[in-house]
Amino acid sequence: AQKGPKHCSLRKIELTVTNLGLGYVSDETIFFTYCSGRCRESRSNYDLALERILSRKKRRCCRPTSYSDILFLGNNFKYQTIYNLTADKCGCL
């Protein structure tokens, strides 16, 4: 995983479809993009109040705000699609 800036942003890993571990077998290499990082600066009044009232950090999550599908040729020479696999954009939700 890429050691990047602290704030919630898009990260990427290069790996084969097989290594996704979803059971698909294909030696095609893809970029698996995901969201990670701090969401501290995007808190709202809701988060502040939650922290004060429940004294628990129910902080915002660094999550994708849009996804993309992956289409590949499996080792069985059939084209397949994995829907909503990679993150396009990230946000603190």
Binding site: G37, R38, E41, S42, R43, L48, K57, R59
Partner: protein, 573 residues
């Protein structure tokens, strides 16, 4: 609008007088004639039960009232208006038909016998002829010092001669009624207030001076108000309804100097007062001189403005008064009187650090006068390198005054040893007449430059604590380091804790001309982003008050107490 009201009962015979209407005469030759008119276009069922004597104004019954009369009419109140009826002065008469016979005299409360249902408050106009204004039931009034009397024969309350409202607006009298019911004698006292209507019979007059001396100097902006001349009028001035305004004073500037007419106007306002007119309502009129346009700084004149005021609804003599404004317009020199500017700047300062303020004589008093400032390097033939040093400092226009603010425009210059001292000619130019003033301005760089830590200098306001604040070289820092302000009050306070580039100018609840160049210099004064946590926004933007520590990131600001030990959020919530 006067209302008569009376009660009638079942069994009262035809001919019973119900209500006596009074109408006061305007002139000797006038004699009132009384007619009944109905609110709706067609007389109601009960119209035929009443007769109005055309000359005496006495309304009486024409039939004896039976029980079914009550049933047929029911409770409906209908109002009929005959076409010509509303062409004449009219009063409304409400007759209440009681569902009962007349109670015997002994059972009737003395008050009922003596006085009508409603509080009695007749209104008569001043300066009118004597005459009856109200029917006091079989009342008699012996002569009293007030201008009222009772005609013992007819029990009519009379006014005995013209009354003057400006002397007295209301007469508080008391009716004393003695009721002899055979075995007991009741004496009853009832207050009666006769109000006097006003008409425009008083001329306007000037209580103090008719002249005001006006000096126009630094305030030369359109709309500026000078002076105030008072005119009194003992008459009232109704503000409603607009088209019936009485006692209106109109004024005109008496001059054929077109410059004066174009440049000045006189504003008139009025208010009702009582105490100063002997506890009778009168009107105080105010006349103020107003600049119609911006005056140039070089204008220099002395003249007198005469203003003729006329009472448009007063027909008597001396209905006009003349006011005078002695006006002196002084020129405003654009000048630096023996002033040279000398500023020092730390070499550690960062871009947008504020260096100081420049101002021609009296510039802080200027209104409607625009002055722009320029820095011109003194040594025009300096080498290119040296010339580039001069780019370090720039001057910009203040927003609230005709002064200039100097700030550091390029902190990299501070790194260059050759840039030691900058000598400028400071040029101030008035924008309308292009008048100029010049003086010397020297800036000396002092101290050692600090190595730039981070190419991207961020806002001091991002720092949440004293330690990280006072070690950070944020935008706009004069000393090279941000300054921490520690608040102490609980709750939402104007003295919130925060990290600032320069506590002299930020936060001061004013987004000044330099801070406005980049809102991250002082978001506390200039932020237009959401503010999270307990806060109060400034009148336009920024943080007026905050809870605990206020700090800002690019897209929002936070105000929260420092006591929350906030763990850095790991990737997983």
């Amino acid at each position: 609008h006067y209302e008569y009201s009376e009660r009638i009962y079942i069994g009262q015979p035809a001919g019973t007088p119900v209500v006596q209407i009074h109408s006061m005469r305007e002139t000797e030759s006038e004699w009132p004639h009384f007619y009944l008119c109905w609110r709706a276009s067609r007389p109601p069922l009960y119209a035929s039960w009443f007769h109005m004597n055309e000359t005496t104004g006495l309304l009486s019954l024409t039939k004896t009232l039976e029980w079914n009369d009550f049933a047929t009419v029911g409770f409906k109140m209908c109002s009929i208006l005959r076409p010509d009826c509303h062409m004449w002065p009219s009063v409304s008469i409400t007759v209440t038909l009681e569902n009962a016979t007349l109670p015997p005299c002994g059972q009737m409360k003395p008050e009922r016998l003596c006085f009508p249902l409603r509080e009695v408050a007749p209104h008569i106009t001043e300066n009118r002829l004597a005459g009856a204004l109200h029917q006091l039931r079989r009342l008699s009034l012996s002569d009293v010092s007030v201008p009222f009397a009772v005609n013992n024969a007819t029990s009519e309350l009379m006014v005995t001669g013209p009354v003057d409202r400006e002397e007295r607006e209301v007469y508080h009298m008391q009716i004393i009624c003695t009721v002899d019911t055979g075995d007991t004698e009741h004496k009853l006292f009832l207050p009666m207030h006769v109000n006097i209507y006003d008409e425009d019979d008083s001329a306007p007059y000037i209580p103090f001076s008719d002249t005001e001396n006006v000096v126009v100097e630094f305030s030369r902006m359109q709309g500026t108000v000078f002076g105030n001349v008072l005119v009194y009028d003992r008459d009232t001035t109704p503000v409603y309804p607009k088209h019936l305004i009485q006692n209106k004073l109109l004024g005109t500037i008496v001059t054929n100097d077109t410059w004066v007419k174009d440049t000045f106007t006189v504003a008139h306002s009025f208010r009702e007062e009582k105490a100063i007119f002997g506890n009778v309502r009168g009107t105080v009129h105010e006349f103020k001189l107003i600049l119609n346009k911006n005056l140039s700084v070089s204008e220099k004149r002395s003249f007198q403005i005469d203003y003729l005021v006329k009472d448009t609804t007063y027909t008597g003599p001396n209905g006009t008064v003349m006011l005078h404004f002695n006006v002196t317009v002084l020129p405003v020199p654009i000048h630096f009187t023996n002033v040279t500017y000398f500023f020092t700047v730390s070499r550690r300062a960062s871009t947008y650090a504020q260096v100081g303020q420049v101002c021609v004589d009296n510039c802080l008093k200027f209104e409607g006068i625009e002055v722009e400032y320029q820095l011109v390097p003194l040594d025009r033939n300096a080498s290119a390198d040296l010339q580039s040093c001069y780019a370090a400092v720039v001057v910009t226009q203040s927003l609230r005054a005709a002064s200039g603010r100097l700030y550091l425009n390029d902190s990299d210059v501070l790194q260059r040893p050759e840039c030691q001292e900058l000598q400028f000619t400071l040029v101030a130019q008035e924008q309308q007449q292009q008048l100029q003033a010049k003086t010397l301005l020297v800036i000396v760089f002092e101290g050692e430059a600090s190595k730039p830590v981070d190419s991207r200098i961020l806002s001091c306001a991002e720092k949440k604590g004293r330690a990280e604040c006072e070690t950070y070289q944020g935008l706009g820092t004069a000393t090279g380091l941000c300054q921490w302000r520690q608040g102490s009050e609980k709750g939402i306070s104007v003295n919130y804790s925060t990290c600032s580039p320069d506590l002299r100018t930020c936060p001061d609840r004013f987004c000044d001309a330099v801070e406005r160049k980049d809102r991250t210099i002082c978001p506390q004064d200039c932020a237009r982003v959401p503010i999270i946590g307990g806060h109060e926004t400034g009148s336009m933007y920024g943080i007026k008050a905050g809870h605990g520590t206020c700090y800002c990131v690019p897209d929002r600001c936070f105000c929260e107490p420092e006591d929350i030990k906030v763990a850095i959020c790991n990737d997983v919530c």
